[in-house]
Symmetry: C2
Subunit: 246 residues, 2 copies
């Protein structure tokens, strides 16, 4: 019997200039996408990936993500992503990540929580039997945090979503929320601030028909954001960015 690959590491590669943001670095949204792609690939290798779940009418959806970076890769910086499962049951998977620089030094870590949903019923479901794939590697960042809503003085922006914002589950792609928050902050903000920690909670799926608004609050050391259904007021996604001046 073949042993399960308990960790999955991407090949260390230089960050293409073509994938950098205006500051010459990987954006937090692009990093989150890469973490999700690594997680998705590892799930494929563990036999609990897209193909196996789709055959049962199921899919993984990202519920929460926390990322801390001491440095964000810049143009042509070599880095790799290692991911592993901290715990796993029939409904949920806690999955962690380490991001390593060219010399093998960690430049960041991430934690994530995934839920198994029934694609047709659009609610949490059961995966059935699961392989024993938990592994204990160090992930020295604080656990996933509860994310509070922005205060009453938050800025309110319209936030409609369409084709490019959707993933294969036909709801808003996890990283697109981060892009919209980053866009609301604007280029000058990114030139003068660095995100040191992100906590993001995906509370309800956003469909392209959802009339969403984005509320943003800013202080010197943090940004809080909430996407909500403009009609019902239901919170769809909340994020908190801990930031420092560049």
């Amino acid at each position: 019997m073949t042993e399960l690959p308990l960790t999955y590491t991407t090949e260390p590669r230089p960050l293409s200039a073509a994938l950098c943001d205006a500051t010459g670095h990987l954006s937090m949204a692009s990093l989150e996408t890469r973490l999700i792609v690594a997680a998705t690939r590892h799930a494929d290798l563990l036999g609990v990936g897209y193909r196996e779940l789709a055959a049962k009418g199921l899919a993984w959806v990202l519920s929460r993500m926390s990322i801390e970076m001491t440095a964000m890769p810049g143009i042509l910086d070599v880095f790799s992503i290692t991911t592993w499962v901290e715990s796993f049951n029939r409904h949920l998977s806690y999955r962690n990540f380490a991001i390593h620089g060219a010399d093998g030094t960690p430049i960041g870590f991430a934690r994530s929580l995934w839920a198994c949903i029934d694609i047709n019923l659009r609610r949490t479901s059961e995966l059935g039997s699961v392989p024993g794939c938990e592994t204990a590697l160090e992930c020295p960042i604080a656990p996933i945090q509860r994310v509070a809503a922005p205060g009453p003085d938050a800025e309110v922006l319209p936030a409609g979503f369409t084709y490019s914002d959707l993933d294969f589950n036909r709801h808003v792609n996890s990283a697109r929320y981060l892009e919209r928050i980053a866009d609301a902050l604007g280029l000058d903000w990114h030139d003068s601030h660095r995100i040191t920690r992100l906590d993001i909670a995906y509370l309800h799926e956003t469909l392209p028909s959802t009339p969403a608004v984005l509320r943003i609050g800013r202080t010197d050391d943090a940004v809080t954001a909430e996407f909500a259904d403009a009609e019902s007021g239901t919170a769809l996604c909340r994020a908190r960015l801990a930031v420092e001046r560049r």
Copy 2:
């Protein structure tokens, strides 16, 4: 003396579900990004990449791209991209691409034209001496086409750009124009249409301060689009999509 790598091929990999659009396929914008990343990596290997050009105050900018796909990769489909230089001088590079499926059969081809610009002067510049890196491989699609403006009955949409739309050159990322066009067409259009050929011309760079509009014209078998400066009327980018019903 080490021989120059005259072609560059990405490792064949399954397309992550996490990178697919709502139809379960790679989007044309994501494909264009992958072609650009492969081109950028090949330029790095040829010694005319970001690092060498930046040291001279220069950068490559994509001027035109034409893509024809007989099939777009779907979830977990394995594919690779091969790129090579068709011709090359001190100002310009014609670069082609072949996209191969899992069994090595071509599923599409692309042609591109790149200009070397002076980053500070924001205009075409000279690269200086260039390596002999032209190679003649088959690229059996029609040459890059002139792209006409949409007719007077085109739909007109606002098209502001901000942080996530910019690349390291601090102008609008090539693929973002395609995303905006795709978004203007909407999800129902993508469910019922397939793009068989794209011709896109990047005519002037779009800065985040540019007050842009997008004009779109549609017929049964084509979409034409133009981004223009809303104040001066200058055309910034034009595209033509040849389409068929799914």
